[in-house]
């Protein structure tokens, strides 16, 4: 059967469907930030950013930025009613202390036991870690959004990460361009896959066995152009 893999926007849309009403959420800088755009109607989500803001809203219009009001990606933000400011130690108390309901990050690799590699691919260049190693600890749920494979077609869901780790056994759900995969007791458990994709095809681009707990659901996402 034919299928076309999800765009980043579509992966973000799918991840957004799992945002719970009243949840405190940190979206990693870059691709995961896109999830906020697809927050379902009627759900109230409070966004946290590492640099000390809770309850921030959409980006301001161009020209209306206040550059003292930014997120961890150094992009200008606005505040929603009920926002608060705090210093970095309090901010990471929220992260490490188990107060966030969800953190969503990007990934280079996720291993079947939930190890995440997302901060460095080699030893060249300037390393930078930011808040990623903190975010993978403490949030009640740590999810990843990612293409299912690398640009040259290699699996990103793997037996063991070959890139330097961000955290050990921390990821519990992965939203990819082909599937939704949970990590349960050291195994990938397939929850959803694109309807046009066979289990064998999906397994072929996945670096560790996909387990089933009942039939996987169809991964259905609207066109987002």
């Amino acid at each position: 059967m034919a299928y076309s893999k999800l765009t980043n926007a579509q992966i973000a849309w799918r991840a957004a469907q799992d945002l719970e009403d009243g949840a405190y959420v940190n979206l990693g800088i870059g691709f995961p930030e896109m999830i906020a755009k697809f927050q379902p109607e009627g759900r109230d989500v409070i966004y946290h950013t590492e640099n000390g803001v809770l309850g921030f809203g959409k980006a301001p219009k161009e020209g209306e930025e206040d550059w003292d009001l930014i997120n961890a990606g150094k992009k200008a933000i606005t505040l929603n009613p009920g926002a608060s400011f705090f210093h970095h130690a309090d901010s990471f108390s929220m992260v490490r202390g188990g107060h966030l309901d969800l953190a969503v990050l990007g990934a280079y690799q996720v291993s079947r036991n939930g190890d995440l590699a997302n901060w460095r691919v080699g030893t060249k260049g300037v390393p930078a870690v930011g808040g990623a190693m903190d975010l993978v600890h403490g949030a009640k749920r740590v999810a990843v959004v990612t293409d299912h494979v690398t640009k040259d077609g290699k699996p990103k869901l793997v037996e063991t990460c070959s890139f330097p780790l961000t955290g050990v056994g921390c990821v519990t759900r992965v939203y990819t361009s082909l599937a939704v995969v949970d990590i349960v007791d050291g195994h990938f458990v397939l929850r959803e896959k694109l309807a046009g994709l066979t289990l064998e095809e999906l397994q072929g681009v996945t670096g560790a066995p996909l387990h089933l707990e009942g039939d996987p659901a169809d991964l259905t996402v609207p066109d987002l152009d």
Partner: protein
Amino acid sequence: MDKTLASPNAAVADIPDGARLMIGGFGGSGAPIELIHALIDRFRETGSPGNLTVINNNAGNGAIGIAAMIKAGMVGKMVCSFPRSSNAEAFNERYLAGEIELELIPQGTLAERIRAAGAGIPAFYTPTSFGTELAEGKPVEEFDGKMYVRERWLKADYALVKAETGDTVGNLTYRLAARNFNPLMAMAADRTVAQVSQLVPPGGVDPETVVTPGIFVDGLVEVSEPQQEEVLVRAGVVY
């Protein structure tokens, strides 16, 4: 999202027997009297919750608040730094009769252990209590030529705090020195409920003056003219 609770009774309705309960305040300042009294009412009506572990700097004063909890027989253990005070008969009697347990912790270590729980720090080193009987059995270690004691985080199932202004998403400010342990306890419990003197809509608290961000607060109830523990004690009120 609206975290408003209907009443002090509703705020304490689900605290079970045996719970570890942090109660804000230092002496009479910042003590959530109405929440405590609602809990006593529940105990008197239903016999529950009993056998509570109460974490507070002190062990109650006079015959109201925590002292009234102790008198009612709801408290199995106190965790505090200064149980001995001028009006602490309720605790004294039960303690000397062997009817209540006491874990005594230096005040700064108590504060830091609570903060550590809220901050996801399972253990830390402090110079406080090194070489004293309060450090007995605790690991010690030398850093930069000075000796330190390792202390663990201190968590609770519930925290009852008193704040001045709260918005409906849980952002809190405090009044004067009534701040004390309240913001720390709000971070360190699985479920935190706050009584606030003034409940306002989101946006009603300046984001720059929020002391406890709403993420740490699960429920709020407005008690618009709260009782003050010290005032009650001085008036000889018995609850």
